[in-house]
């Protein structure tokens, strides 16, 4: 019972913040609404007995990534979003896709129930997959470095490549010379 009330409250905040993010014309306000939304998702993870995932969600998304968003918006002074969209076909397409996604969610929802699976509305404690160690750092690590070792390592290499790319892009300004080298050659 208490679980449902908490879920309802957090879900309400999540929806309001998502709508707020879409409707606000100030980029900083939109980014802050998104932060609230990401924290709500972390709270959902907590409700599903996955504290590890919840903390990583807050650290990585609400913390690191959104701070960089804010940083860039502030540095560029791009707070005001122009309301006139260049892509006129975007709005109708978005509405169609949203309807398809809601339909798919409902289909999945009732399919699970019809095929005799656990009701999506059942309390989390009735799920047979909920064991002592469910969602603990140890369990997550075992899955990441066991069943999903290859995708995990590939993601690591991909991130490394992106990082090196970013460094090279910033260094290549003014004919591949760094600031110190340029200063030295000027002298």
């Amino acid at each position: 019972m208490i679980g449902y009330i908490l879920f309802g409250l957090v879900a309400l905040v999540a929806i309001v913040s998502a709508v707020g993010m879409l409707l606000s014309t100030n980029a900083i306000h939109a980014a802050l609404f998104l932060v609230i939304n990401l924290i709500c998702i972390a709270l959902f993870y907590l409700g599903l007995n996955a504290p590890f995932l919840a903390m990583v969600q807050i650290t990585v998304y609400a913390g690191a990534i959104m701070v960089l968003f804010l940083f860039v918006i502030m540095l560029l002074g791009a707070e005001q979003v122009t309301l006139k969209s260049q892509l006129k076909w975007q709005a109708p397409l978005a509405i169609v896709l949203a309807v398809v996604m809601i339909a798919a969610t409902f289909l999945l929802f009732f399919n699970v129930q019809a095929s005799g699976g656990l009701s999506p509305l059942a309390p989390i404690s009735e799920d047979p997959r909920q064991t002592e160690t469910f969602g603990s750092p140890y369990a997550v690590g075992e899955v990441l470095f066991g069943a999903y070792l290859l995708p995990f390592e590939m993601t690591g290499v991909l991130l490394l490549v992106a990082m090196i790319g970013a460094i090279i892009l910033t260094r290549n300004e003014a004919g591949g010379m760094r600031d110190e080298q340029r200063a030295a050659s000027n002298e």
Partner: protein, 343 residues
Amino acid sequence: MIDFLTLTIEAAIKAALMILSLLTGFAYTTLLERRFIARIQQRVGPNRAGPWGLLQPAADGIKVIFKEDIIPNGADKVIFTLAPALTAIPALIILAVVPLGGDVNVFGYRTSLALTSTNVGVLYILAVTSISVYGITLAGWSSANKYAMLGGLRSTAQMISYELAMGLSILAPVMVVGSMSLADIIDAQKNVWLVVYQPIAGLIFIITMYAETNRAPFDLPEAEQELTAGFHTEYSGMKFAAFYMAEYMKMIGVSVIAATLFFGGYRLFGLENLLGGWMGPVILIGKVMLSLLLFVWIRATLPRFRYDRLMDFGWKVLLPIALANAAITAVLVVLDPWWYRLI
């Protein structure tokens, strides 16, 4: 249902006590800082309000409450008002997962001196520190003042840069103990403090904790010679006080965390079991006091970093050392050589 009620009431009482002690701690840390700096500079310091100036924090509080609350014309009013709260809240909640003592009896009711114990305690601390960047950044942006803006941007860049080295230095004790629960980490230090196993990680954590709290020598976000008062230039009254409150509570918070991760937490050679377990928090307070004195001492003696050197130091010195230390620790934990267990 009854279980749920008792648990909720117990947690609420503990949370209220923790917030109360943090606020008291903040008030008297300001006095400690002013008196101690005065000693170092051969002055007397505030000594008029009450015996030894002990009522000075209360006098400051009353004064600040009656100050005019000014919101600049061009400011983003909502965010300008929210920013002090966003700065203070992470400082208040960061200690929720840290055990402040062992089990004690309160009127025959056995309870532990920790608000909650979770198996991801270390990650919770990292999550809260990563959120705490927002308050100062938004304060700088919403003030519509170029000095405040520069202070906010400096603070963001500095906190992001030093968070990496801090996270890596926390990783080392987690690997040695093999648990992310802070209770487990304290229990592992019954005989030997982790700083003996991990001196480099301990040193890096202590350096980064000065940067994360924006304290000297890393107090560039409020460098008065260049930025007036940095991110809180436009703030007055209680909002201004909230930033100070957050800064001092963060100092207490990181001191408790440093003591927990590297210096045995509330444990001190079994002394923590005296007085029915109530000696634990006293020992922890003693360790925190020493750390706060170090904070003040460093502020009084070290000059401020130059901004580019601050960035170079974070990215080119601290981060590689912390990374190498984490890698070496990982190898040592797996190989488990006899001389590493002996220390």
